[in-house]
Amino acid sequence: MDKSTMENSNEDLDLFRSIEYTGNGFYWTVGFLIFVIAFGLYGYFHQVLYGLGVTGMAQPISWGFYIVNFVFFIGISHAGTLISAILRLSQAEWRRPITRMAEIITAIVLAIGGLHPILDLGQPGRMWNLVTNGRLQSPLLWDVTSITAYFAASTVYLYLPMIPDIAILRDRGVKPKWLYQFLSWNWQDTPEQKRVLERAINILMIMVIPIAVSVHTVISYIFAMTIQPGWHSTIFGPYFVAGAIFSGIAALMIAMIAFRKIFHLERYLKLIHFQYLSTLLLIMSIIWFYFTFSEYLTTFYGNEPDEMRVFNYKFIGDFAPYFWLMVFCNFAVPVIILSFKKTKTIPGILVVSFSVLIGMWLERLIIVVPSLANPRLEYPVGIYIPTITEWGLFAAGVAIFILGFLMFAKYFPLISIWEIREGRESSIKEVAHRLQSYMPDTYEEDELERALK
């Protein structure tokens, strides 16, 4: 290592702290999370043993928490890869400390969300039927395919930009040495290697955006492809994608605030990053409102009796408290808090993020349950009350996410070290050059030559 990189690595010591230092808090947290997960698994074991009757689902409300959480978790997974890819693509320089965390959230939450439909199966042992007798025309198979693709693409997209960091850890001699040696793929920071890596990242980030969009679109298609009132809507694809990005940004900011607090990373995750992200959140909140408004106004104006029963169930019926709480959480809170500079602080942003997560979860609930609770024919319908098993598995899902995030932070830097260094070393020059090229009467060299000819 030469002198300058030595200095830099010393400068970025903060970023290694989560890997090289393990406090008691870590063990306590992990212990607690494992307890929560064990509780959830016990509930699942119970369910497999006795049947889905241990949940609160019934007829006709035959889908409940599992499907709601499936949609919710997959939504959060959009934080990552999509945001990171868009920021990279738009060459937003402030992305550098953010992208890694966003990508991890994607990988972990996608795995959790992707497993949720299995929780919902009455006969999980017959999963193999999907392999031997799957029907590609069922929207559920679209999901299986696109979630698998997204998971593959986003883990690769997480891994590739991490290779130089893994090599840094390898060179520092962090244990277990073999792990970093194995994962660093012989990275030596040569210019050619850098070129190869950058080319791959560029291809991937373009590939990953349509995949990410497709994932949440086909999840909405599970509902939109049926002819049920409240579900059969053409707006559902983009509505779900917007909602997913919305909740994803909120989850990302919560993770960032927590990590910043625990490991004292105020130098890296600055207020400005949160402010930029929360502006994005504010925009998504307004887009969300716009979609919600168009969705329900068309229903209301069209005034079809079957649609209106679902509509009334949400607006003034049993689900009205949830519905209006959702509007409050997803629209009122973000707009009020994020519109004023005084409240656009870290605590304010944290409140907004939690509020958005609650609101978006409610939105998924409000999409899944009311349509099922209002069948077209006149059946007696009860209310859906989730049981302890369902709550337990929900908690376990969240716990697995936190645990996965912690374990990741234990072994890999949550902030991309090499990208930070690259930013410090060369991006000011690069950006200055780029800005220069936007100005009138300045030419790139080859342009100049052509102009002279």
């Binding site: 799957g134 029907r135 590609l136 693709a149 590739l160 793929w185 012989n186 030596q188 050619e192 291809i203």
Partner: protein, 83 residues
């Protein structure tokens, strides 16, 4: 762990990824035949297969490209060290 062992692990992990990708593709491909056999919306299945099958191969290809690219352009002395 020695370098040779690491190398074997790396290559085999890459092989596993290819096995996974090919398995997914074979699965999708086989579903086309199931759909055909049962006369069950084969056109929809073909459309999905056409998008999904190359996609998985592309993902694995990118990974492979990076792996061999990094090996190829590693500094010569380290290369000798590893191999």
């Amino acid at each position: 762990m020695n370098h040779k062992m690491i190398k074997v692990l790396q290559i085999s992990s890459l092989a596993y990824i290819w096995i996974f990708v090919i398995a997914v593709d074979v699965w999708i491909f086989s579903l086309l035949f199931v759909a055909k056999k049962l006369d069950d919306a084969i056109n929809a299945s073909v459309a999905i297969g056409l998008i999904a099958i190359p996609l998985f191969i592309a993902i694995a290809s990118i990974l492979t490209y990076v792996f061999f690219g990094l090996q190829k352009y590693a500094k010569p002395e380290e290369k000798a060290n590893v191999l």
